[in-house]
Symmetry: C2
Subunit: 272 residues, 2 copies
DNA sequence: GCTGCCGTATTATTATGCGATACAACATGT
DNA sequence: ACATGTTGTATCGCATAATAATACGGCAGC
């Protein structure tokens, strides 16, 4: 008679036997992560103390301490009447901190803005983070699903055009390690999850120097991407441009959007 | 014989005598903040251990422990050869966490995108955070200075059009408290820092339901803004639209941009 | 009105984070 | 080349600071 109502109790607590490791910091971030999970899995915009405890895999006392601390630091806000917590504006500081110290972003930004105007399309820059890609810069032009317009969004690398072009130019062992670690869960009915199919798609992307995918991460989305290289010739990011059916056909995307992504990526690479 | 070479050693350590307060968490965030300061004050994209210690106001041992844990958690990256640290992609997660759980952002996003197309201008949503405003959503269309295009950017509320329209509709005591707490340091040669001038500008913004400022936070910028209200009639944000001289004149901004900002803000308010 | 769950407050215990110290690897300048 | 002042790394005993158990009050919903 198991009464766990929510997902796997704890996603395997990281055990860092390093004497320089401060465990409290990890737990604070676990609390923040709980909100992302809560939103993704249950559509919750705010969380109560017990929910946080459950989602972050800690007991109520710990949740109490860390929420209290995060509220004092202004990274979490607490509704005084419902007593529920939600992420606070100040979290945006950290994104700024990342981007402002990122030369790649600085160089890419004007070119991405430029590129968006050519066909009035959204243009994104994405970088690898573990087995996912994260959209670090987004220039939205079209009203897609809300999450699809927000910077910081994660998509598994194996099913994103941006992910594929990055994987394609990684050293073999690194690419393999990431694919091995990727849970091949489909995001749409058409997501390719067959390992050999994925591999050949990546190989194609390497030869062509771009990738294009249809309905892989989201329905009605045709996603194109091209790799960005640094001065030493290593992939560091991808320019990704999505367009949406039925306004765009695959043929038109191929003919117009792919070259735009490739050209933009090349321009950025050239200035690194 | 003082050998402190850098700015004020510690910006007054917060002393939280709450038994539920976990001080280590604060220190971890202090380390992250150090990067923002390092960038703002010295233009540094990465920091060495000792620099972090200095900027975050802690000793080398502490800096060592917290950088080490933040690296383990992937919020900081360490260059193995230079041994310097820099903010890592994963920080973008936290921004996403904030925005995705924010109803306001969800409702505003499509209207902001729409608004940007009218005159091909950048459109921003900003929210109050302490004495600053933070740009939470940005739809960039023009290639302004890099920082001016990044979400998470902070500007003192008193000299930002977005800040003024928010302040204008706050309860008197709250507005006063924020102005009292604001360091009235000018950002440009033309920034208004006279308290009574600021007050009358805010009063005007309240009556007019918009604000417009020239060269207040950045040279060549004409900044317009209008307030967004929630269902209970409280200000929660501002729609801000900047245009740049010499492409735009003040008169044109008044005639075209202000109504656009006002209308967009009203549309958002109406859907909250 | 009873029962369960939630958020809050308080406590003793000890594990945990602390910071002094010593070392190594560079850079610097003479 | 050497002496000097950095910087980053590693170790360790001590006491503080974070912990988890517990108890309380409030608010739901049967």
């Amino acid at each position: 008679m198991d009464s766990q109502k929510t997902a796997p109790p704890t996603p395997a607590r990281r055990t860092e036997p390093n004497p320089l490791y401060v465990a409290s910091v990890e737990k604070a971030f676990d609390v923040l992560k709980a909100f992302r999970r809560g939103q993704a899995e249950f559509g919750l915009r705010d969380l109560g103390l017990s929910e946080i405890a459950r989602l972050a895999g800690m007991d109520k006392s710990a949740a109490q301490r860390f929420t209290s601390t995060l509220v004092a630091l202004d990274y979490l806000a607490k509704d005084p009447i419902t007593r529920r917590y939600r992420p606070a504006v100040k979290l945006a500081d950290l994104y700024f901190t990342y981007v402002i110290s990122n030369r790649l972003a600085e160089i890419a930004m004007p070119r991405l803005i430029e590129a968006g105007k050519v066909y009035d399309t959204t243009v994104n820059l994405c970088e690898l983070c573990g087995t996912d890609i994260i959209y670090t810069i987004r220039i939205p032009h079209e009203k897609a699903r809300f999450e699809a317009t927000i910077a910081g969004r994660r998509v598994p690398a194996f099913c994103a055009a941006g992910g594929n072009v990055i994987l394609a130019h990684l050293p073999d062992d690194e690419r393999q390690a990431i694919l091995d670690a990727s849970p091949l869960r489909p995001l749409t009915d058409e997501t390719i999850i067959d390992p050999t199919a994925i591999r050949s798609r990546i190989a194609r992307a390497r030869r062509a120097m771009f990738d294009i995918g249809v309905n892989q991460a989201m329905m009605h989305e045709i996603s194109t991407a091209a790799p960005v290289f640094n001065a030493e010739g290593k992939v560091v990011a991808a320019v990704q441009i999505p367009v949406y059916s039925p306004q765009w056909s695959l043929a038109d995307a191929r003919r117009k959007i792919v070259p735009l992504a490739v050209e933009t990526a090349r321009a950025i690479s050239g200035s690194l």
